[in-house]
Symmetry: C2
Subunit: 201 residues, 2 copies
């Protein structure tokens, strides 16, 4: 069995969303699965001494345009959310709790619906109310999720997962590791595809 692709993303990252729309399909084409890992760019950026893209002079306005253009070119539905960026720790905790309790598939379904809600329907997925509604749409008891994301062990689990990601060199979103080879950015998907196809790059 070939190893799954390791996919790291932040729920507030638009390029992470583009990757999320495409990665399962890309992996499946070459008989691979994908492990989804929510991370927190806010924490990672402290280590890498980076600031959120859209806050950067010149690069910010450019990136807004690039996002819309790139989404259109790849035929991905996209609208830059009214409130952007957002704190994504509650959403990430909810995903981990759902994964612990209901397994990877439901957790992934939840993650996809979160991204869709944020980057297509302009719903602020940092708010617990929105998170619970999306969980309920996935058939998960929302009261249990509300309790779950408050648990100390979930907070510790997310912190640990972000620390482990950092140790593995993850510094952005999307970040994909395929058989030990690391790729940063949706614009490296053509190289991921080449690696999956040829077994080397």
């Amino acid at each position: 069995m070939k190893t799954p692709l390791q996919f790291y993303f932040d729920f507030s990252s638009p390029y992470g969303y583009f990757a999320a729309v495409r990665i399962d399909e890309l992996a499946a084409e070459f008989g691979r699965l994908v492990d989804w890992h929510p991370v927190l760019l806010g924490v990672i950026f402290k280590t890498t001494e980076t600031r959120p893209l859209l806050q950067l002079p010149l690069k910010g306005p450019y990136s807004k345009h690039d996002l819309t253009r790139t989404a259109r070119h790849h035929q991905i539905a996209f609208k830059l959310p009214t409130i952007f960026p957002i704190a994504s720790h509650q959403t990430a905790r909810a995903m981990l709790w759902i994964q612990n309790k209901h397994g990877k598939d439901i957790a992934k379904q939840f993650a996809k619906k979160c991204y869709q809600s944020y980057f297509v329907d302009d719903i602020n997925i940092s708010e617990v109310e929105a998170i619970l509604k999306i969980a309920a749409d996935c058939g998960v008891n929302s009261e249990e999720v509300a309790n779950g994301i408050q648990l100390p062990e979930i907070k510790v689990q997310l912190k640990t997962e972000v620390d482990v990601a950092l140790e593995q060199g993850v510094f952005g979103s999307p970040f994909v590791v395929v058989d030990g080879e690391a790729f940063w950015g949706f614009d490296r998907f053509y190289q991921i595809e080449a690696l999956l196809k040829n077994g080397q790059i």
Copy 2:
């Protein structure tokens, strides 16, 4: 006559080098010319509050690997220079002086040879001696270049060109403007190609 592509690059930028290897060929395929504009990322990064890529934690080591991998994937000869990055103002001034005196074609030839010398042959093109040798290889009198790059008006010209580039939103290398549409990065060349092909993107 269709307008030329506006290509901004820093002589110390490896992704700028990749772009330089490909851009004339890409433009020619769609009946376009390319205007080459040397800029100084050192100056631009002060405005954009950015630091050189390879100096960034985590992103630095990743980028070294990405450069080699990307060069290999696109079949571009590449070796990360022993001394990297370098101050590129003397090289940029030499290019401008050659352009003023001998025209765009010779200046472009000089720029290509500089990039090749730095990113293939590991020659430190920040050194005047190397610059003069490359100029001589292009049939330009090296003594005249040595004097030319010291002229106050060339220093002013480069400073002005960098300021104008900044005003137009240029914040990185490579940076390409096609019919008013801006693209940052060698990894946006597929979008430039789409625009040239379809007249829109």
